[in-house]
Amino acid sequence: MTTNTIYQFYRLLEKDAISFSYRGSFSNNVLTMATQLFKDNVEEKHERLRNKLSFLMIESFQNISRYADTEESLNLDENSEFFMTRNIGDTFYVISANLIDNDKIPTVREKLERVNTLDKSELNKLYREVLTNKQINEKGGAGLGFIEMVRKTKGKLPFDFVTIDNKRSMFFMQIELRNPKEDDGLPSISLSDAKQIQALVAQENILMMHKGDYSEDAIGPMLKMVEENMQNVSLKIHKKIFHFLVEILQNISKHSYAVNGKHEGIFQIGYENKRYNIGTGNFILNTEIKNLKTQLDTVNNKTVDELNEMYRKYLREGKTTKSGSAGLGLIDLARETEDKINYEFVKINDTYSFYSLTVKF
């Protein structure tokens, strides 16, 4: 993950009001938090969709754990499970990707093709049949999940299998939930978009990614989610990641340039060569770049001893940050990161630029 990766993702997710993706081994914790994240942050006009969205996220998520057969490994690779929810305009997308054994593909394909061709009454009929016959296969589902997904969205389920080797494939599926009361006129996003994002997330070793409004209220549930998902990481690393995420995200909510009243931002947590990366991106006024750059260069050029000295001076003086000097948060960040703070500014227009930052622990 580099500062440019952040910008690349920002462009890919440019239209997303909120998006969240997660890669790696799945626990119910991730699910609880992801659904909470969307519950807390969807716009009022989409409020009626909240319960449906939660339901679809749960179904999709459980589908991953149901079909993810191949032995679970702790190491992440390009084929690790992937889950994503996006809100673009008046539509929500729930995307899943997971490994599937090639010999199971025909059954899954058949179920999906069947639900994709049935009309409403046929679906209801099939739903009741499956329920009453209790024809449950060894993995605990007779395609009821798929039937429900189609019934709830009143749409089709785009899916695809991408062969990895003669034993396994990657199974992609996308659920599209449109708000029936609103129509933004935007075309649907194709499954190939999802594939592209998954491939880039895997290539850049990203574990978790979020894009949305980073006003103070929005940060809370996100921090909670990150924290809950760090329970298997050592206390030292877990605390560091959480601590710096607080500093960085609060920095975005305080200092970023609000476009259309929103403090839009993106953050990513990555894991590469046994080290964690945090990356963030947000907009900043062009007039503020010079000052910020000076602050970043200042802390980047100090030795640890000098940084400690600066840190103590700030604490001792007990003053909150004044513009023109590096804030305590940045000094703290520079003290703890193993390399320098990487940053990049990409000019968007004459008013503002995109500012991305990465740190390693």
């Binding site: 909670k224 206390l235 030292k236 605390k239 607080v246 840190y311 103590r312 007990g318 305590l328």
Partner: protein
């Protein structure tokens, strides 16, 4: 009895606070990650100003954080400064900085605060299990 004790329940972003002169309990525990930490700690600092006009024989402040953002660290430094000023007026005070074993960030913040202040200051490791148990009993 003046001043009235300050008892604040912990929230997602703010710590549990007990400043109780009558029962001689002074502690801040938990998580302090609010962006508006200045606003949160202001009434506590005001309370301490009143309190130190007629302090108890010994004022022992327990600081026990699991997370502390940088703006809260400044507020805690402010509070420690108040203790230091009174200590220099021959008022007995003691600061106890507690951290969970292995939590380097909180341990180091305690070390820094100790370095920059001239006041009796001890650091202690605590076992979180004891706290969880305590919290559980407390809630029930």
């Amino acid at each position: 009895m003046f001043p009235e004790p300050i008892i604040l329940e912990p929230t997602v972003k703010t710590p549990e606070v007990i400043f109780d002169k009558e029962n001689n309990i002074f502690q801040i525990r938990g998580r302090s990650i609010s962006e508006n930490s200045h606003e949160f700690f202001l009434p506590i600092k005001d309370w301490l100003t009143e309190y130190f006009k007629h302090p108890n024989k010994l004022t022992k402040l327990i600081l026990n954080f699991d997370y502390l953002n940088s703006s809260s660290a400044i507020q805690i430094s402010n509070i420690i400064n108040m203790f230091e000023k009174n200590y220099k007026k021959n008022i007995d005070v003691l600061l106890v900085w507690q951290y969970e074993r292995g939590d380097e960030l909180i341990e180091n913040t305690g070390i820094e605060l100790n370095i920059i202040s001239d006041v009796p200051f001890v650091t202690e490791i605590f076992e979180p299990e004891e706290f969880e148990k305590f919290d559980f009993d407390f809630d029930d």
